[in-house]
């Protein structure tokens, strides 16, 4: 499509604009893109990833970089919106990112992956859990350091049936991509099993000021437990309202709820709530070091997906080092074949891009903290 001659003429005419365009492509560095929501209402899910990347890169650069080159960060905001994510992704491509750490939300990730795929850039998300990202086979360049939603739903259902031996279960979700996806899996797993019955399956309206109607409905359904797919703000509202109405219904949820904020918000009502979350790595020495580094650099505890992002950054840069170049095939091959030590443990990636050795466990709030149930 590009007409060289025409291009030359045009460039001559509007040569002035060239100054603006000609700034890219300067230093010889390894470029690590970091994409996710850095502003807007979901910023708190994206900013920890920047911090993780900054700390990893600082560390690696101090040790001489990757392949002898310094690593440079390209941080771009996608506000978790697919339409913005395509712009973000194109910007990454334009600025010559070699690998991308991101995106954060599944929707934005799906929109961006097509662009990275066409431009031969591997991308690794610390947080996008939508099963289709790895299972559909549409995104061979996609990797993630978090397990997919169906694994979580499986764990929740197995726990409800095998450990708690429940018969009647209500499934709720927040109508969102993540929550509803999870709830759908939980529902299909439960329906395939004859031991329990789904007595209620409904979506609640996120951000609502009051959930008493749905809570009454749960009560009327006589469910022994609620499996909730969604995030902690809604979960804490529902749990609190159930407990205030003196209901003792068991509450099982996902890693969107396995957040300390949930306990702080729901306070005494959080006690006894089950939530799945990434396997406990608090004993891992790298994880301890990573958390320490964050505290030292930013004066606060790290936020959501910090360790996943930290591990992803290490895995990506390690793969380039192992591959000996930034060549797409070599890097993806290295990700799939070479083990790497990360705060999440020793990991590598399977054919579909899921991390081997990363999974979920069940946690319960006991005396105000999440305790892993073995």
């Amino acid at each position: 499509m590009k007409n060289r001659l025409g291009q030359f003429l045009i460039v001559a005419v509007v040569g002035v604009f060239m100054v603006a365009a000609g700034t890219a492509m300067a230093a010889d560095t390894i470029k690590l893109g970091v994409a996710g929501p850095h502003s807007g209402d979901l910023a708190s899910y994206g900013i920890p990833t920047i911090k993780a990347a900054e700390l990893v890169v600082k560390d690696i650069n101090a040790k001489g970089g990757v392949l002898g080159k310094q690593v440079e960060l390209l941080v771009e905001d996608d506000v978790c919106k697919p339409e913005v994510a395509t712009n973000t992704a194109t910007k990454m491509v334009s600025e010559g990112a070699h690998v991308v750490l991101g995106h954060i939300c599944s929707g934005a990730t799906k929109a961006a992956m097509g662009i990275y795929k066409d431009s031969n850039i591997p991308a690794m998300s610390p947080s996008a859990t939508n099963p289709a990202l790895t299972q559909s086979g549409d995104y061979p360049n996609f990797f993630r350091t978090i397990a997919s939603d169906d694994a979580q739903a499986r764990l929740e259902v197995d726990f409800a049936l095998d450990v708690l031996k429940l018969k009647k279960i209500a499934i709720l979700h927040d109508k969102g991509d993540y929550g509803k996806g999870l709830a759908e899996f939980a529902k299909s797993f439960l329906e395939a099993d004859s031991r329990a019955e789904v007595v209620l399956y409904e979506g609640i309206t996120p951000g609502a000021v009051d959930y008493s109607a749905i809570v009454q409905k749960i009560k009327r359904s006589k469910a022994e437990a609620v499996i909730f797919g969604g995030y902690h703000p809604e979960a804490s509202k529902i749990v609190s309202q159930m407990r205030k109405k003196r209901m003792k219904t068991i509450f099982i949820s996902d890693d969107g709820v396995m957040d300390d904020t949930f306990i702080k918000v729901a306070q005494k009502y959080a006690e006894g709530v089950y939530a799945t979350g990434p396997m406990d790595v608090s004993q891992n020495s790298m994880a301890i070091a990573a958390n320490e580094a964050h505290k030292k650099a930013y004066g606060a505890d790290p936020g959501a997906f910090y360790l996943n992002a930290y591990s992803a950054a290490i895995a990506l840069l390690n793969a380039i080092e192992q591959a000996g170049s930034t060549d797409y095939a070599a890097v993806t091959n290295a990700l799939r074949t070479k083990d790497v030590e990360t705060p999440l443990g020793k990991i590598r990636f399977d054919e579909r891009g899921d991390a081997i050795g990363v999974g979920f466990s069940m946690y319960q709030v006991q005396k105000g903290v999440y305790v892993e149930l073995k």
Binding site: K175, S212, A213, I214, S240, V265
Partner: protein, 300 residues
């Protein structure tokens, strides 16, 4: 039957919450015919100010009731101050401009205030302490309705009654009604229109602040975005009841609350909002000015 009653009370609570925000919407609209998109933000700022005061006072070890009262007081003062300032900056210069320009200015203000709080404070949800104690005498009914809900319902009633009183019987209320009817005429007969508009913003913002403190304490958490979602619903409620009418705002809010509650209870919460909006459309088709709105038949 008990289930019906529970849903009824749930709807009443929800409706009262909407009403606390909708009252401010409807007052401002009545006076300046402006959809004050940033009204929800004022509510959010009220809640945030209260949280800040609460945290500081709690650190200093004050007593809970005192904290609640002081926090509510400071929230009211600050929200009113924000409402007042907002009017001066974003709406007053636009009195003569096309109505839509003022609407866009309000949207800009809303974005500004959201991000101002986001940047100055945090994007995370912050726990908001439950300031309203569980009353002893409520314990037998706790499985149906809690103390905070009761307080919200009572407060809404009090606020509505006092606002109605204010509008009907006080001097400023008369000036407000005059301004709402015909701004130029009111100016001619000596009403200080600028003062009336400022007062409207202040009163509207104060009710939003009361709402902010109570609702935040009921829900137990706040972030910078709560104003937008609640604001839209309150706006819908105000229009449903007939925008510009104070009893209308309350009635609209309650009807919206009940609609949502019963629909969730008997049908499905999946389509709760869809149904609420369809209901709104149907009402407006049959009563184009809302339930209590006077349909201002244009004089031809």
């Amino acid at each position: 039957m008990e289930y019906f009653f529970e849903l009824f009370l749930g709807g009443l609570t929800r409706g009262s919450i909407y009403a606390l925000i909708a009252l401010g919407y409807t007052m401002v609209y009545g006076i300046v015919q402006l959809i004050n998109f940033a009204h929800g933000e004022i509510y959010m700022i009220g809640a945030f100010t209260a949280l800040i005061v609460i945290s500081v006072l709690t650190m200093m070890g004050w007593n809970q009731i005192a904290i609640l009262l002081i926090a509510a007081g400071v929230a009211v003062i600050y929200s009113s101050a924000y409402g007042y300032t907002m009017e001066k900056i974003a709406y007053k210069p636009l009195r003569q401009a096309p109505r839509l320009s003022a609407l866009i200015s309000a949207i800009g203000m809303s974005l500004f205030l959201q991000n101002y709080v986001l940047l100055a404070q945090t994007s995370d949800f912050l726990p908001f302490p439950g300031l309203i104690p569980d009353f002893e005498f409520m314990e037998p009914y706790a499985h149906i309705i809690g103390s905070p809900e009761l307080v919200i319902i009572i407060t809404t009633t009090i606020v509505m009654i006092s606002l109605t009183f204010l509008i009907k019987f006080t001097k400023i209320g008369k000036a407000m009604r005059a301004t709402a009817q015909d701004r130029d005429m009111a100016m001619l007969v000596g009403v200080d229109v600028n003062r009336v508009i400022s007062m409207t913003f202040i009163i509207g913002s104060a009710t939003a602040a009361i709402g902010g403190v109570l609702i935040a304490s009921h829900i137990g958490q706040i972030n910078f975005y709560i104003g937008f979602i609640a604001g839209i619903k309150a706006f819908v409620a105000a229009v449903l009841g007939g925008i510009g009418s104070i009893p209308g705002a309350v009635l609209g809010s309650l009807i919206l609350g009940w609609t949502e509650s019963f629909f969730t209870g008997y049908i499905s919460s999946d389509y709760e909002d869809v149904f609420a909006f369809i209901f709104l459309v149907v009402i407006l088709i049959f009563r184009p000015a809302g339930i209590l709105g006077r349909s201002t038949a244009e004089k031809v």
